[in-house]
Symmetry: C2
């Protein structure tokens, strides 16, 4: 309401104008606390003490805002052991796991990144790092790029599904065929191990291809 801000010492502060980073930060906060459905331009503006129309000075539209959010999420992916002194297989696994963790760190993180992927704004970096790790295994340049992109899509698709399942479970909206899956040992963690299995298949495939040099 009041653009003026008064400090505890009585001194008057400048009207608190927001930066682009402030907006994406608030968007990330909403995403984390409430999820993508609540990340509306109106909610975001309210959290910043702005009118919705003010956001359009910082971003041309919502899609651009989401792209910036996706960028931030992906950029926080850091592999556990960044030293590339170890095995190239561990390097690939490490990069993939780091991305996987980064996507799961924010509610609906995988969906946000996935929906922005085609614009090539943030995942290009993740793809490049996957490709670099793959190249350590001695795979050809163009083949490494394509393998990295394929691995990227697997990681994103898998992460998104895990988050969807978590959300569906918490809402109690599960189809009988899924809920009564006979293989489920614990009962609610049906997807356990799928990511690891898929990742291992990818790495094993890379190794096999490296040997036979198709």
């Amino acid at each position: 309401m009041n653009p003026m801000v008064t400090n505890p010492d009585g001194q008057e502060a400048r009207t608190p104008r927001r930066s682009r980073a402030d907006v994406t930060g608030a968007a990330l906060a909403i995403l984390d606390a409430q999820g993508l459905p609540d990340l509306t331009m109106r909610n975001l503006a309210a959290r910043l003490g702005l009118q919705p129309s003010a956001l359009y000075w910082h971003f041309p539209n919502k899609q651009a805002l989401l792209a910036a959010v996706a960028d931030e999420i992906v950029s926080r992916a850091r592999p556990a052991v960044s030293d590339a002194q170890g095995d190239w297989r561990d390097a690939v696994r490490s990069e993939a796991v780091a991305l996987h963790d980064a996507l799961l760190a924010f509610k609906d993180g995988a969906e946000v990144v996935s929906s922005t992927l085609a614009l090539g704004l943030g995942a290009e970096e993740a793809s490049a790092r996957l490709a670099a790790a793959i190249r350590l295994g001695g795979v050809d340049g163009m083949l490494a790029d394509r393998s990295a992109e394929a691995l990227l899509h697997f990681v994103i698709g898998q992460s998104w599904h895990e988050q969807q399942r978590l959300q569906a479970d918490s809402l109690g909206v599960v189809a009988p065929s899924v809920a009564s899956h006979p293989d489920a040992l614990v009962g609610d963690r049906d997807a356990s191990g799928v990511f690891e299995v898929g990742l291992d298949l990818f790495v094993a495939g890379l190794e096999a291809g490296r040997l036979s040099e198709i």
Copy 2:
């Protein structure tokens, strides 16, 4: 407007009430012709000559409607050579390609299926068929299930990205880093071959795991 329908011969027909299949059919038609953003309850109702609220007699909500649409899309996936007489690797590839093609057959098909996957309503069948093909290779039961699910997520993620890219290209909304990609030979088909490479990696990984029996 008028619930009565008059045939060319002058005979009066019964008021044309709609079935569930009519609704999903109209939804598929909108999806194919215009895409997911235009698949609104109001557009759908208008195409059927109904009020929007009438749709809620056939489906409890939009999500359930989309699940039915996704079911229909996935169920149309038929492998090229259904005879399992050939190689198990060809069977796996054939199933994956069939799913890939089915998702690409409808505009935004991959996104619709992806967003409905967690409810386990339609892709369970696709996953089971992939698992069956994988089992032909002699892979263990639980491992086959997980491998199939991982492959499923790769196929969906990859398909969705291809459709996104097509749409982004047609709208001319491409980031400079993507548009000026030096590897692009043709220029607009940057994702060419990624699906095939990823699929080959998966199959090679399955074969390697089958031999070493980890």
